[in-house]
């Protein structure tokens, strides 16, 4: 029940934004986020963006996994 889906913000007006993932767009509420803007990736839970995705940390995590190769 605590699943949240990564989506990209494509349009934003006040607390309401359009977000996209896998070619699908839906309206989401961004009132929990400060300074969210077009192009940001966020995680969506029950219609609300609950946090922004930190791109740098995500890339570093993947890099770390790749370096784990023996």
């Amino acid at each position: 029940m605590c699943l949240a889906i990564p989506m990209e913000i494509v349009k934003i007006k006040g607390d309401t934004a359009m977000a996209r993932a896998d070619g699908l767009e839906r309206e989401v509420d961004v009132r929990f986020l400060k300074d969210v803007k077009k192009g940001d990736f966020v995680v969506i839970h029950a219609g609300f963006a609950i946090e922004k995705i930190d791109k740098k940390n995500a890339e570093e995590t993947i890099k770390l996994y790749k370096e784990m190769k023996r």
Binding site: C2, F32, L33, I53, K55, E59
Partner: protein, 377 residues
């Protein structure tokens, strides 16, 4: 980057599995609990248990909101559904959960006034579109979901939507974890802590687990690679003799959590003792709607009473059935939720109790441990 597929890469998952094998001490056993039902589901779906060494055991915890919602909450919702001009709005996960006598799904076939919504804001729109009806939203979920309900409550008040009500069955995670570690049975060496609960509350509310009880913790994402790395980090903490709270899921979780959401929670809810199916009543583990918002609190506006059905003034008295728990039928969901038993230990598992015909809550929710075992193991 899409932030999903990259974290399901089989080659990378195998790399982490190798690292785990190298890191474990073969003379020791490691017992880890994944607290959240979404983790349980992911572990089952991606077959992660098969990638772990035999001395690393994963136990499932109580972090499935639908599973820990007590029968009495469902009974109350069903009683509300029986009232005139009343519509129950709920997340889809709740409709199959058995109450004492019926589930909401069974009642829906009869009354047609139970609507599944995706978001609380949809429930609020339902209220605006149906001015002659009372909309009761079933507020279930942990800290991930509770801010979204709090936001709807604030909006209903500010916009003066006077036919929108919330029955709050919300729960918070840290007191339940405290109850588990205080119990000392089962033995738990480390926790894989919830991903999105932690996105809201951050890492600090879990500090007592390592500081007071010496148990290791990692906040891990829900993708298989996240979980495997979380397990690896737990083993490292144990082998280094340094229990703490690490954040593996640092692409989303900040140490301090989401302050805006935390403030909205504090604005709308007070903490209250709450009943968890299987765990009993846990001190300060629930969220009650503050008095300021009592116009929206279903419990303040709809009075419940046993046996008789009658209407009084603006509120209504409703009939609650005798509580007959699934435990009466031999269901061991309570033990499963505490990590004391596994689904295979239950005589009903896969026989009288299946996802199509669930008896206990652990089989109802797709994230329940029994359902995850039945579908994927």
């Amino acid at each position: 980057m899409k932030y999903v597929d990259e974290f399901r890469d089989k080659g990378l998952i195998k790399n982490v599995a190798e690292k785990i094998k190298e890191a474990v001490n073969p003379k020791k056993s490691y017992r880890f609990m994944e607290v959240c039902g979404t983790h349980t589901m992911s572990i089952a779906r991606f077959g992660l248990k098969h990638l772990l060494p035999p001395n690393v055991k994963m136990l499932s915890g109580p972090g499935c909101p639908v599973c820990v919602t007590p029968t009495s909450f469902i009974d109350k919702a069903i009683a509300y559904a029986g009232l005139k001009d009343t519509i129950i709005a709920t997340f889809g996960d709740m409709v199959k959960v058995p109450g004492s006598t019926y589930s909401l799904q069974e009642v829906r076939a009869e009354t047609g006034n139970i609507k599944v919504v995706y978001s609380t804001l949809d429930a609020l729109k339902l209220a605006s579109r149906n001015p002659g009806k009372r909309i009761v939203f079933l507020g279930v979920g942990f800290e991930t979901t509770a801010p979204t309900i709090a936001a709807a409550i604030m909006e209903a008040k500010s916009k003066g939507v006077d036919n929108f009500f919330v029955l709050s069955g919300h729960k918070v995670m840290p007191p339940a974890l405290k109850a588990l570690v205080k119990d000392k049975d089962p033995r738990i060496d480390g926790f894989i802590l919830p991903a999105h609960v932690s996105a809201i509350i951050g890492a600090r509310p879990y500090a007592f687990i390592s500081e007071r009880y010496g148990i290791s913790n990692v906040i891990a994402g829900f993708e298989p690679l996240d979980i495997m790395q979380g397990i690896y980090m737990l083993i490292k903490q144990i082998e280094d003799g340094d229990p703490r709270v690490d954040i593996q899921y640092n692409r989303v979780v900040r140490a301090g959590g989401n302050k805006v959401a935390q403030n909205i929670l504090k604005r709308v809810f007070d903490s209250v003792d709450a009943e968890w199916r299987g765990l009993g009543v846990i001190r300060a583990s629930g969220l009650r709607i503050k008095r300021e918002f009592s116009r929206i609190d279903a419990e303040k506006n709809f009075k419940t009473k046993s046996r008789t059905v009658s209407r009084t003034g603006t509120g209504a008295e409703i009939n609650l059935p005798r509580v007959r728990d699934a435990a009466d039928k031999g269901c061991i969901c309570g033990k499963v939720l505490k990590g004391l038993s596994e689904p295979k230990d239950c005589k009903l598992f896969g026989k009288g109790c299946t996802p199509e015909h669930p008896i206990g809550a652990c089989m109802v929710s797709s994230e329940g441990t029994c359902s995850a075992w039945y579908l994927h193991l």
